[in-house]
């Protein structure tokens, strides 16, 4: 499952943080889902992991206790070969890492309405950032909002347009605090996105601001 039509990719900085293992879980989930759809970023990640390998090579070696090799051999005998016979393959708009957080495919999502036909489902991740699925009916808009931190939006199905560009399946939008935007779903198909934020969104109008505590965003 890899789509060469993807135009908007993970930035170098985000991908390096993912390679280093320092992203909040919600961001890691979004990056891992994009990579599942994008071989270009999978290859870029491979190159960045290679930096990690070089850094381990260059590390000051710290002496291991004398019995550590025999202890490791004992660990090996206790364990077993990791069979991983056939890797699981996700569906076109629902790669495996995301399925693991939903507990199945799109049909298993427990949507909650947030008004105007827009629905969301918050996924269980560590509290340093929030991941949620957004369901935007064809032609509908998500209320105008700005960000304090970073917001990642990955299109799983359909497409949306905002002031920046047009985003289709597999495309990732990286929005920082300078961006106020109103994503509007394309007419042809309902749009489903995975969105991750590391700070609450700020809505421009009064009504969504009141609704914010209920949205958990």
């Amino acid at each position: 499952m890899s789509d060469s039509n993807i135009k908007h990719h993970v930035s170098d900085a985000l991908l390096m943080a993912y390679s280093a293992g320092t992203l909040p879980e919600a961001f890691s989930l979004t990056v891992a889902t994009h990579i599942s759809m994008c071989d270009e970023c999978r290859a870029r990640l491979g190159a960045l992991d290679c930096i990690g390998g070089v850094i381990v090579e260059r590390c000051d070696a710290q002496e291991m206790p004398e019995d550590s090799l025999s202890k490791t051999m004992a660990l090996i005998r206790k364990g077993r070969r990791d069979e991983a016979p056939h890797a699981r393959r996700g569906s076109v708009n629902m790669p495996v890492p995301l399925q693991d957080y939903i507990g199945g495919g799109l049909e298993s999502v427990r949507w909650r309405s947030v008004g105007m036909g827009v629905k969301q489902a918050v996924l269980p991740t560590s509290p340093d950032a929030t991941a949620r699925l957004l369901y935007i009916p064809a032609g509908a808009a998500v209320p105008d909002h700005g960000h304090r931190g970073t917001e990642l939006t990955l299109v799983l199905q359909g497409a949306f347009r905002d002031a920046v560009a047009h985003f289709g399946p597999g495309d990732l939008e990286i929005a920082d605090e300078d961006l106020d935007h109103t994503p509007v779903a394309d007419i042809g198909e309902d749009c489903i996105c995975l969105a991750a934020t590391d700070a609450p969104l700020r809505f421009r109008s009064m009504l969504p601001r009141m609704a914010q505590p209920f949205l958990r965003i």
Binding site: S28, I35, I51, V54, E57, K71, R89, P97
Partner: protein, 186 residues
């Protein structure tokens, strides 16, 4: 310079051979060689990332045992031994130090792909060595920033988008290996 390059590239290939021997024959001698070289470095990496000595030792043993059990999943057309060991150590580190899960990209179907092309393996191992040389040649300030990112001392918003490293060749090499895999899977 060139002779060091070639020597280190051969070293990379030796580690690949060791992992082959572990996978094919359960070769404990080959494992001991890998252990002697990598375990102290993994321990150093973990301690530099904030774990204490005891924790780092336990975790290192775990990482090396994982290497044995997953030896059949190592693809030398896409990674060096050091790169692969780094990814195992990183995942254990997140587990141990941050008590978080790390969502991984969907695996490419393992198990029935063909033996990697030897020329691909050779090229990747050599290009990795060139990347190591490029990192060594970076100005101190820039290299320290990259190290900080990998030791977990920088947040994603503090990491620069430009590393100044020539990652293009190695990326293209891995991309080629991925395309080959995709083709074989069809």
């Amino acid at each position: 310079m060139t002779s060091t390059n070639e020597k280190r590239a051969t070293e990379n290939e030796d580690w690949v051979t060791c992992i082959d021997l572990i996978r094919e024959n359960g070769d404990e001698e080959a494992f001991a060689r890998l252990f002697m070289h990598f375990a102290p470095r993994v321990k150093g990496f973990l301690m530099r990332s904030g774990s204490d000595a005891t924790q780092a030792e336990e975790c290192t043993q775990d990482v090396m045992a994982t290497l044995w059990h997953k030896a059949h999943l190592f693809d030398p057309a896409r990674a060096t031994a050091a790169t692969w060991i780094f990814t195992i150590a990183r995942n254990r580190k997140i587990d141990m130090l941050r008590r978080q899960k790390r969502p991984e990209p969907e695996d490419l179907p393992w198990g029935h792909e063909p033996e990697p092309d030897q020329a691909d393996v050779l090229m990747l191992q050599q290009e990795s060595e060139q990347l190591a040389q490029a990192i060594a040649a970076l100005p101190d300030k820039q290299r320290v920033l990259i190290e900080k990112a990998y030791f977990g001392d920088l947040s994603h918003s503090e990491i620069a988008d430009q590393t100044g490293l020539p990652l293009g060749t190695i990326k293209s090499r891995i991309r080629l290996a991925l395309d080959r895999l995709r083709h074989e899977m069809k």
